[in-house]
Symmetry: C2
Subunit: 490 residues, 2 copies
């Protein structure tokens, strides 16, 4: 065994343990008896402790110091890069600081839930300030003199810089604001009404998951409060939810999670339990969930087929034809909540959060002033005012638990999806013929071949550029949105 073999064997075991931790998380949201919560916390903490100690294990440092990357083939080098990066990030932050973040995170989560319930941001200010202060300390330890916010971004999107993201997001914002304003001026299309049997919704969700190539032999679909995808390789499970009045929620949550899951299922099996055997970043992951959900799932062609399936499942459900159906699943309407936003307004929600959290971490905005800053920016971009804190600054859990740097990946994912969609349409000009029959095969096969199979073999931007044949930018997403929503709201 060479040092590299030793390191890889160790990393492989760590990866297997992290998959166990993921499975435990799935169990908690789907199967766990409700009285088991406290015990489960101890189980999770024990496993997280093992994982943390392995990521920063001194033996990893020794192996790394003894391995000469030039002796390795490119795949081994890519693995080494991931292992080195994880080790360095794990060892740069003092253990005390990490423990403090974990403690404040759990306190802050409860405080956030209470504040949201009471619509009282002021009560959340002290603990959120504590969290921001700790995350700034963490970022300072990680940034090595570089831009402080980028050090946090790097947790979710390795290699991304706030400089390039800010330029991209600043270019998106005015055209999205204009498109939103134009759509909201127009008469609203007919919306879905009525009640839809929830077990029929689940049946249809499984049909829809199958239509997107989700491999049920290596996965399963269950119900949970929040839809998510969990796992990697041969065991990638998704959850969805049902609301009697809103079957679109169930169907499009399912498609979204199938996008995440397919990325994990379709990585080249040769990468197995190495660092390469999974999605490379949150942004690239989100590009898959969003292109499945929106560019494909909400396309006019796919709606042709899905409308027929809705009729089979629910009979005459109030929308006259596939055109009305297409308009209804793409409706643009006023709303405060990011997770319920349409394609046009969604990214405006994200840009707002990105700008504010960057200022918090950079120290140019105080937590005490955050609600006012949120509400002002919201009024500017959305054209209507936030009515209460739970519909505004308190709606997301991310900041409460210290996830600064995460939001950006949502919009970056949409930008990547826009690029991939443009390349996909060039490569498969007659895609709509297949989609109209519920056959997403040509699309998902193109994504598998050009992107998903590479797992974490290449850097995030690099793999998107390879797949598209051009450098990613916000242009294709904007062009797609403007064409689609100008046609829908002429």
């Amino acid at each position: 065994m060479t040092h590299f073999d030793d390191l890889m064997a160790f990393a492989r075991e760590t990866r297997a343990l992290s998959l166990v931790a993921g499975r435990l998380g799935w169990d908690q949201e789907t199967m766990m008896p409700r009285g088991a919560g406290e015990q489960r916390s101890e189980e999770k903490a024990a496993l997280e402790g093992v994982l943390h100690r392995r990521r920063s294990d001194p033996r990893v440092g020794e192996w790394l110091s003894k391995i000469n990357a030039q002796d390795l083939d490119p795949i081994a080098q890519a693995n080494l890069g991931h292992i080195r990066r994880t080790y360095e990030r794990s060892t740069m932050v003092p253990a005390d600081l990490k423990a403090q973040i974990a403690r404040v995170s759990s306190k802050s989560h409860s405080a956030w839930a209470e504040a949201r319930e009471a619509n009282d941001f002021a009560s959340f200010v002290p603990v959120l300030s504590e969290m921001v202060d700790l995350k700034r300390q963490e970022a300072t330890a990680l940034c090595a003199g570089g831009p402080i916010y980028d050090a946090l971004l790097d947790d979710y999107e390795p290699g991304a810089t706030s400089q390039s993201l800010t330029a991209m997001f600043d270019a998106l914002r005015p055209r999205l604001v204009a498109l939103r304003a134009k759509a909201l001026e127009k008469p609203a299309p007919k919306a879905l009404e009525g009640s839809f049997d929830e077990s029929e919704q689940m049946k249809l969700a499984r049909i829809v998951a199958k239509s997107f190539g989700y491999d049920f032999k290596r996965g399963r679909v269950d119900k949970a409060v929040h839809p998510f995808s969990s796992g990697s390789g041969d065991d990638v499970r998704i959850t969805t939810r049902t609301v009697a009045e809103d079957p679109f929620n169930c169907l499009y949550s399912t498609i979204h999670e199938v996008g995440h899951a397919s990325y994990e299922q379709n990585v080249d099996p040769q990468y197995g339990l190495t660092y390469l055997g999974r999605g490379v970043s949150m942004g690239v992951h989100e590009s898959q969930s969003r292109i499945y959900e929106n560019q494909i799932g909400r396309s006019r062609a796919y709606c042709e087929w899905l409308y027929g399936e809705m009729v089979k499942a629910f009979g005459d459900f109030g929308l006259a034809d596939a055109d009305e159906f297409y308009a209804a699943v793409n409706i643009v309407k006023k709303g405060y909540i990011r997770t319920e936003a349409d394609e046009v307004q969604y990214n405006l929600h994200v840009l707002l959060r990105y700008d504010l959290e960057r200022q918090l971490i950079e120290g140019t905005l105080e937590v005490a002033d955050l609600e006012e800053a949120w509400n002002a920016r919201f009024a500017d971009d959305f054209g209507y005012a936030v009515d209460r804190a739970s519909n505004g600054v308190l709606q997301d859990v991310h900041w409460a638990v210290g996830y600064f740097g995460y939001f950006a990946t949502y919009t970056l994912g949409n930008v990547f999806a826009g690029c991939l969609h443009q390349a996909l349409r060039s490569a498969v000009p007659d895609l709509d013929d297949a989609l109209a029959r519920g056959n997403t095969g040509p699309a998902v096969e193109w994504l598998r071949e050009n992107l998903q199979r590479h797992g974490a073999r290449y850097e995030p931007r690099e793999v998107i550029a390879k797949a598209c044949g051009f450098e990613p930018s916000e242009g294709p997403l904007l062009d797609y949105l403007e064409a689609k929503f100008t046609a829908l709201y002429p």
Copy 2:
């Protein structure tokens, strides 16, 4: 923090991790997608590696050497005893030997399955000989000059000796053989016939589990190929199975597993994730599953209620009344398979295995002669001949995977159940009045108070003796069986 506190914190984390491993096992049998098997093996192996290294971690040895047991209270001393025993057993066997057993075990499992399929014991002889040889080496490392077989027994029933077990089992055998012979001479009672809807069986299984006080807030019931109970404390899940022609299989498997699960659910919460917070041995565990299943679940009184529930679920199902029902669930009939055996013959199956495996480990029986020895003993004790190897020496997986010492705990559990039942009936003379209404409360409450809540606080025999008020022996089980089956087969 004292050395003892450090040791306990470390042990607590190890315990939490072993619960995670158990949960993974449950998932594999109930929820895991069928394509995930190989990946799951790696996940399990990684977690088992962590657990093994923690059990034999040198820091544990150092803490143990620095702690003076006399400074500790009795509960702390009991914990220390378990930790010391586990550590010593983990460090006495060379790591190479353990790895070899694990490798041969997986090879042997496949060889056993093939041999059973082909009814060909000879093809299994080489690999089973290898396993026996390895287990003899392990036992030699563990026995410290004492009886070699006892070292293996100790894995499943700490403190038990082959000397006392052999005396007990030798006393059981002739009276069981006589009772079996007498019952089989008599005309057989009416057996259950027909087909029973499997989802109705599952509904009734849940009603039955509830009737035995199983806490669904801290557990759940699912279907699996083999019924089992999994977990401890606030998360104890059971599985059962359904066969359309045999609802008794589903119902009594459920009651059996509820017995195991209740023991784990009812341990005093103060013991939590310490070594005391779980069942103390396989024998005591089996006493709970068997007293729930047989002495209570197959009693005439409980059958009064269960018959009524069967009628509610299935209408007229062919048995005229609770008397016929009671006779049918207690039917004694010829059969080769241990897991399908009635209360009379079950222990004869176990005694046969116990005697043969002891000889294998002690070196007085060769694997090559095992089938002949099995068949001769079977004919002696059962009065009919084994027809093929899959109904004889190849029926159980235990030996293939190295579980020597395990079988004894099945009969020991029945013996303990006999003792507990005698004490329970003295303590609650009107128990049948409650059972006849489906109320097992007085019985399970007595078991909880006198036995289950103690977890692993006392030694196995000690906790049974405390609960019963007398030293455990085979007498009460034999008296119970003779009285019950003489009345059923007059």
